[in-house]
Symmetry: C3
Subunit: 423 residues, 3 copies
């Protein structure tokens, strides 16, 4: 989708971090599309085992040669400065500077992405080609950053449903000038929220959480602990814009409803895809699935992180993002949400022998023919398995009939009072 790609292009130049004004500007942009509220979590506040760090802002960062020429300049690329570098103002030889310079010998034209959130440190990132070509001599090094008490900004869009049972959609917002990781996740989350906001009604309440990776998710969990019991399903969106095959990583529960639904969506798409088991490493599902919460939260990706060479380098840029891939990731989320919304358990109100569907206008009255239509079979499947134990998705899989047809059959049966929702 071109609109989603344009949205990413607009956010790409902002210098983001886990705190600071870049993060706030990013959330403000999102707020132009969906009803976003933000919360500031103060520096120093404890969140479980973690502490919110001082807020980091950067005015300037460069390395200049003896002629005063800026040979490395954050104004040229946000990745040039190690994210969260402490302030520096110094003059040093190339040999003194070199341990502070990060490059990728294997990918000599790409700038790496480096951070130092939890240790006072500083440095610059540059292409290996440039690093090798720096002539000896003295260099002026300036990092004009501030690390001061402030806050970490969390964004959230809440779309209330008829129930306060909640679907959590989480995406990380902290990476500067990396497109697939994770402007793609923000774009898909925003457009999914727009889609849900446009529906006449929602069964579930949806909470879209836009937070810095790791510490942001941890802070959000700490801040929302009493509400976590309402979370029925969840999805982390990250790296959903490259042209690679779609991947779904299951929640720690492995067989949660979201795991079944995503597997069904991907399998019934008929397209190449991969279902991955849970591992306790990855994106923020690590926190949501930690054993103290064990929330049913999976992760949707295209090519998994670390499996594409551009990951965490300047080559993860807008060209890596495919509008079609963004659109396809969104379509998969919409399909999943459609199933979650409809995937109820029902109780057959005429459970002893088959009801007469004909007198209720639901069945052909001429007997003896060989053919039975899929919808009529769907009616029989729903009646037979609506014992309060089987959800519609269970029935669809068992019957090998599309979920939508099964759902339509359930709706028709509910209308003629042969069925009622189980809860």
């Amino acid at each position: 989708m071109k609109e989603m790609h344009d949205f990413c292009a607009g956010l790409y130049p902002i210098l983001r971090s886990i705190t600071g004004d870049g993060l706030r500007r990013t959330l403000a942009e999102i707020g132009r599309h969906v009803p976003l509220t933000t919360t500031e979590i103060s520096s120093g506040r404890a969140c479980f085992d973690w502490t919110i760090p001082r807020e980091w802002n950067l005015r300037d960062a460069y390395v200049a040669n003896e002629r005063g020429e800026r040979v490395i300049d954050v104004a040229r690329h946000n990745l040039h400065v190690v994210n969260y570098s402490v302030p520096v103002r110094a003059s040093m030889t190339l040999d003194e500077l070199k341990p502070r310079l990060h490059s990728l010998p294997d990918r000599p034209d790409w700038i790496p992405y480096r951070t130092s959130y939890y240790k006072d440190d500083w440095g610059f990132c540059l292409t290996h080609r440039q690093k090798e070509s720096l002539p000896p001599g003295r260099y002026e090094v300036v990092i004009d950053s501030t690390l001061q008490p402030g806050g970490m900004t969390l964004g959230e869009v809440v779309l209330p449903g008829t129930s306060d049972e909640t679907v959590l959609i989480s995406t990380h917002t902290c990476h500067p000038s990396l497109a697939n990781d994770n402007l793609s996740g923000m774009a898909v989350a925003v457009w999914l929220a727009k889609h849900l906001a446009s529906l006449p009604q929602r069964r579930y309440t949806y909470r879209f959480v836009f937070v810095p990776g790791t510490i942001g998710a941890i802070a959000w969990l700490a801040h929302n602990e009493p509400q976590l019991v309402r979370i029925r399903h969840g999805l982390v969106l990250s790296g959903v814009g490259d042209a690679g095959q779609i991947h779904y990583k299951r929640s720690r529960q492995e067989t949660a409803e979201i795991d079944q639904v995503m597997q069904y969506v991907l399998e019934s798409s008929g397209e190449p895809h991969t279902i991955m088991p849970f591992i306790p490493y990855g994106y923020d599902e690590r926190q949501y699935c930690s054993p103290g919460f064990d929330l049913p939260v999976g992760c949707l990706m295209r090519t998994p992180f670390g499996k594409y060479p551009q990951y965490h380098t300047s080559a993860d840029n807008l060209e890596l993002l495919s509008p079609e891939a963004l659109g396809d990731s969104l379509a998969k989320c919409i399909a999943a949400v459609e199933i979650l919304e409809g995937n109820r358990r029902y109780v057959n109100l005429n459970p002893k022998c088959e009801p007469l569907l004909g007198k209720r206008g639901l069945y052909s009255t001429t007997g003896g023919e060989n053919e039975t239509k899929q919808f009529q079979m769907a009616l029989l499947w729903v009646l037979s398995y609506s014992d309060g134990k089987h959800a519609l998705l269970d029935i669809a899989k068992r019957a090998e009939i599309p979920f939508r047809t099964i759902k339509a059959a359930a709706d028709a049966l509910e209308k003629v009072e042969l069925l009622r929702p189980a809860q």
Copy 2:
């Protein structure tokens, strides 16, 4: 078996329906072989969502041309009249008549089978070849039928066992002049009942139910609801006489004992066969397995309905029935019943270490030899797994020893008081 085929030939000419005298005559014939009792369920009586229809009887039905020649005549073939046609006496043109004429363009020499039980309607069935050759002109149309308050006749053979735990065998009796569907089912049920009646004793009580399809099974369930809790196993027999491969369709429970037993019988036969999962469409297992009852009732067929071209046409005639297939279907039922009768759970009365089988005459007393006979292994398997949890069939499958050998071992162990039944 020639006798079973002859039985079918005797019943073939009767004009049956879900009510009426043809049905009564059919049951009377069955009653000449086995101790059948009948019950009349009155027209208008409600059975769950259904109502017993008026009783239908037919004296005559024909279409005559202007010369008074009967071009279609139910006396020539019972399928010529749409079953349950309302009375008609009219003169009409071919064009007026045509919408009432059912034929099979793809099978131009076969007469289709059509019914209209639950909608007042009438019609004739004929070969497509004949339909195409009818000359224009006026026709006299006569259906001399009656639809009056009366009853639907259910037949039942009860063979009491030492326990009132019941095995249900159900077969439908309503089809006129269709051989595989379902004179074959009636024949196998009758001969299975004869076999069981000849046994010196039965563990289970057997109820053989001869009922019209759908409405008959529903009426039987409504009429017998308090006794249904005693049904431990059940089998619907239908389409068991054609030469095709044998098929067993599992009960809705999927892993009921009857499902395990039939699978074992078919697998251990070494013959081609198919085990089908439950689907909520098919024969009367649909009613027995409806979620309000969920009885452990499977269905034995040869070629499944709708999978052979002759299904529900005049080509489902006595030539389609193979005496060998009838005999083989009966043999499979007898094998299943033998396992059901013997498939108990036992308790090992000497569970701590192996008992000395030698001093009880059950074991070779010369040690050190390499070979152990299958019966001696069967003794060890039965002792080891007779913990009240494993039935003999579980043990036979686990040990890969024929059920009969395992049963013989259990009998021998019970005789020397090393074993007792679990219940």
Copy 3:
């Protein structure tokens, strides 16, 4: 291991049986290596369904020809006499003698092993070649044996652990001059006991049981019934010295921890091996796994009994024993014991979100790199699955990380108080 082979060579010439002085001398030899205690169970004592037989000792046994030459002499090979033969002193013709002579027509150079513990009988075993070459004539037959009230001797080595939860290692001691069956089992048990005795501490108490086959295991169970509840894991060792592939036969429980551990040890060895399901025939696991006890006791073998031609013949001699195979069997037992000792369940003490491993010295503090070391992954796996339900072996298998690394991670986490044992 040469030492183990030498140990077997030392025991090989002793004429053992299920009672008697040969058995006592064998246990005395074992007692030179490990702290063995012995118990005498008196003849006539009832052990469940069995009774301890009279004690058997043999001074001499031979068959001499008319010239007084001993043509069969137990002094030449212990297998020449049927074990437990009653005393005989007689003169008879070859035809009278022949029914008492056991040989193997298929293996004409090997002497078979025969016993008659539970029936008063006598006989000789010899090569088929010799049997065929015996000239007609009269023979003097002498079996100078005694069958008198005495005892059956059980040997046991107990190595106490910090807990009285017990690991049972059982091996049979009754076979005379058969090397693989079962000097090999005694050797591996002795060296495993030496290994465990050398450890600074043991979690489990280990009971090594050296008993005659069948009756000895039964007597031990009868004598120790109150302590059996403490047995958490067990292993029968038998036939563990031939060069064949290693086999593990699962306990009757099939999925006991010992079954999982042995499967893991064999699979992670990368060597050819076979896991066999439980069958109620075999070695003394038959008794330990009888349904009245159902102890989690598996059986380690190399080539299973009856599957090598030398089984229960004079060809099961010291040449059949491979020092490497003995060493490998021991190594597998040591690996299994290492896992049993370490395979605890833990509780994550910081279960809500990930703990900061960096501040506890357990994690790299520079973020953003692609690679994560296996140990750091192990830390995350242990934290994620330490919910009191998953044991470390479960986690190792799930994570596909070696058990030792997972155990090291758990130890490191316990040290920094992020983890505590579940019980």
